[in-house]
Amino acid sequence: MIAELGLAALWLAASLALLQMLAGWAGWRQASEPLAALLRPVAIAQGLLCLLSFGALIWLFYITDLSVLLVAANSHVDKPMIFKIAATWGNHEGSMLLWVTVLALSSAAIALFERRLDKPTLSAAMMAQAALSLGFFAFLLFASNPFARLDPAPQTGAGLNPLLQDIGLAFHPPTLYFGYVGLSVAFSFAVGALLTSNAGASFARAMRPWVLLAWIFLTVGITAGSYWAYYELGWGGWWFWDPVENASLMPWLAATALLHSVSVLASRDALRAWTIMLALVAFAMSMLGTFLVRSGILTSVHAFAVDPERGSFILALMLLYIGGALTLFALKIGQVREGKLFRLISRESAIVGNNILLSVILAIVLLGTLWPLAAEAMGDRISVGPPYFNKTTIPLVFLLFLLLAVGPLLKWRGDDARSLRKLAIPGAVVIAMAVGVWATNPGVSLWAILGLALAAGIALASLFPLLGRNLLRTPLTIWGMVIAHLGLAITVAGMSAESGWTSEKLAALAIGESAEVGGWTVQLTDVTPVVGENWIAIEGRMSATSKGQAFVLTPQMRQFFNPTQQTTEAALLTRWDGQLYAVLAPATSDKREKWQVRLWWKPLVTLIWFGGLVIAFGGFLAFLGRLRIRFRRKPEENVWKQA
């Protein structure tokens, strides 16, 4: 009954999306007033219906209704409750329903909260948003029905991939989806602006909070995903340049560029065509990411829920929407009046530099991700990995950081190079630190040393926009920028320390023996079997001591049932100055005299993810600042109320 209710809600929402498209068209062409008036209620109703449908699916997973195919295939009666619920989006159909739900909620959110955009552009944007929804409704209803029944119902269910049975993974996909799909709003706004040829500062001001919100979710999602890969896969690394990781990084790069260029457009009415292009590209990257993950055309650690036929469907949608939007761009951009110009030394120039560098990095990542495919089309088999990505992106990232230190200090429109004199202090810090660290740490890679020094420089420089301001009266948006840039410095410091100063030890230990790593003495005290809710494990007990302090580490090798799979559960000991990371591997012989143990000491590694959260928090502050500005406006300026 619940499944049928969910399906009915989905069909109803799909028909409302069609109605929303028509109403949007009517509002844009100012064709039929009664039809256009439907736009707002229809969008809100569509969002609620999708929410109902998604709620129904969560309920089915909550009660483990095994007569529903999706539940039977992805859940199990013996699974912990939190993972029963997380299984709702831990599979293809459920995650596509989540995608559609977020898309519909975005429409509803525009209807509820957007009051700035002029009515024709807003209507056209709502039309575009509804067109996006319709395609994904069709995909869901015709090719991936999450509510399909299974007759007869099985007794227990197949279970969820144990790698995904992790609290980090329970929330990583929804967060990323809010980011991915949130960028659809920027896309629809851009399409609307192209249709009405109205892409000025007010358009940018309307679009900015939406981009900011999507960007915050993307930042948190990527940070969480990186931490999950770090501790769950047991490889000790935090970024693998895996195609699917790249698929989440590319929209983030585009969204970061967009976030900056939209500020230029909002404040200075410059970079019109470029901002629209970035809005289209950002969502194109989201769709490309979804396509790459779902179709399985690239080999990846994320190769679950892979199906070439569904891949074709998403590809068709992507070509339709992105191809359509880019064609529209090519045809209409000539009619968008050129924005204002600016001088070479100005905040605008710094942001243009930021945009160019981010776009080049995006192109490099895209090329590296797709290159194995291109090579294979030409009859060659290769894989592209960290050696390519690190060599090509890191120097550009360093340039980007230099601009980051300079940009916020320059005035809009045009400035004197003398206003950069303040940077002498951070500049001196960078040089002194680099030389000092280099002299005292022989054998550490130059990039790691430069990275650490530059992180200190950016941290200082990022605070400069606060100089001479009354901190209590400084707008939240400025605080947001300062804190996000500071967060980046923190992340860079973590990355540099981890890559330059990690120490690693591989040892075969008998019980009672110990190994040394990074100033720690780790003794294997015992190896015992332990039992969990749906797994059994062999657990190593280790006592780690350093400078008179002792801690216990318990890495495990877990054997899951339903489905059967082995995972390694690394043990992490977090201290303020780094993490001790321990992995237990099978015994070296059947007699179980010696156990393979892998130990890392990773100095300051937690700063990578802490910095990521600080960046997102900066974004959140800026978002609050924008909301305050927006809702202080008088109600009569609300476009929905205008005749």
Binding site: I297, G311, L373
Partner: protein
Amino acid sequence: MKRNWLVWMPLLALAFVAGLAIFRLANPNTDYVSSEMVGKPLPEFTLPAATDGVEGLTTANFRDGKPRMLNIFASWCLPCQAEAPYLDQLKAAGVEFHAIAIRDKPEDVAKFLAQNGNPFVRIGADQDMLVQLQLGSSGVPETYIIDGKGRIAYQHIGDIREEHVGPLLKIYRSLK
């Protein structure tokens, strides 16, 4: 319109990505990487007989115009015993087999042949796995199909099971 050709570039990039995607969807990923040795002539080797009563094996034995199968096995390998009935089936269908025994002792090979039957015409002994490496084989059992000029036409990795017999015969017969 001063940027009139530039504005079409993003569409071109999209077409490029789409082309790649369509290529891959039409040619799905396989986990199987075929050996570089397929299509190349057998490496030159001369191996002594693996046990009493059989003859040794040399590359020239494959160049008389008749296609053959070359089985890589060892007496100590369980899957090699499991595939024995299917080698017999292939032999009954007209396939001529040579074999190479890997890291084996003459008395063990004799025992293996006594227990599992001997479908082979010649059996060479490869004590150091040198020929096996040159052939591009990484384990036992493996079975090569060699054409009449001594060229490698196909490599089957792992034991031959019931479902492999038909397809292997098809390749073998296409060489005649």
